[in-house]
Symmetry: C2
Subunit: 147 residues, 2 copies
Amino acid sequence: MSEEQLQQDFALALHDTARAWRHALDRRLKGLGLSQASWLSIAYLAKAPAPMTQTELAHCLSVEQPTVVAMLDRLQRAGLLRREIDAHDRRIRRVLLTPEGIEVYAEVRRVAMDFRHEKLKELDVEVLRQITGVLQQLQRTLEDPIP
Amino acid sequence: MSEEQLQQDFALALHDTARAWRHALDRRLKGLGLSQASWLSIAYLAKAPAPMTQTELAHCLSVEQPTVVAMLDRLQRAGLLRREIDAHDRRIRRVLLTPEGIEVYAEVRRVAMDFRHEKLKELDVEVLRQITGVLQQLQRTLEDPIP
DNA sequence: TGCAATTACTTAGATGGCTAAGTATAAGAG
DNA sequence: CTCTTATACTTAGCCATCTAAGTAATTGCA
């Protein structure tokens, strides 16, 4: 197989596997009414030591601000969080999970952890570590603004 | 690092790297007015030995039929393809690239190939081969309807 | 042969991503 | 102190994906 063909296969496998992962996890989370993106938002909010701003959340998730706005709108409608205007800077909204949001996070966290374990347990730990490292390095290369 | 943490890091790296790849390639293709998904559709259509049906294209791309419908609507509006009702089965629309579509494919193919080479050339071929294999295997596991 | 089931495509409406442009507020330069 | 600039969020509008439900045409069984 030519190097060119291999590079094409890799690009396709990266794309398809990421989608298959998201899709399979979304199906698993469907009963809880949350998709992977929503869950990730809630996870970062739950783990933060203090209420985050929307911009901080956008950085954590590596998405743009309007994406966060829409996501929070949905989660707020679902009663899982609320926004509070910062006391010292009226431009800033701090995002807080509601008790219901905290509860949902606990359940979803377990489901996601089980899912990862179930899908990855067959893989050798060293292989997984190596692949993770290569992907992280590739990600940095891709985000390099030079290209 | 615990195995659990490693699995979490892998899941995140898979998701983020796939998005970074798509994003970087989309930026590169923007001058040509095509996103990665559009380009992939055109590539399959260009390489097919005979005009494909929309269902066949959906299978190639591993997406659902409505996704293909929307994609083809856009590409048709852009003048890159047309649909023709099959002579023997009036339910079927065969998709044909226009001369302009064929031209665009030739350009985009070169850009995508250069992009892949540029981003992956630093990686050892054997490592790339191994990762591709693991991702493909994982994808099959994820698509397994059992879970 | 005729109607039920299947198949191919479309429409409707949701999620999740983007860019570009708008609004409100704070910070800083002069 | 004022006016420009920068920051935080929102809105508007697009692309890509999904599921569910609808339409048109064919297949196939009784």
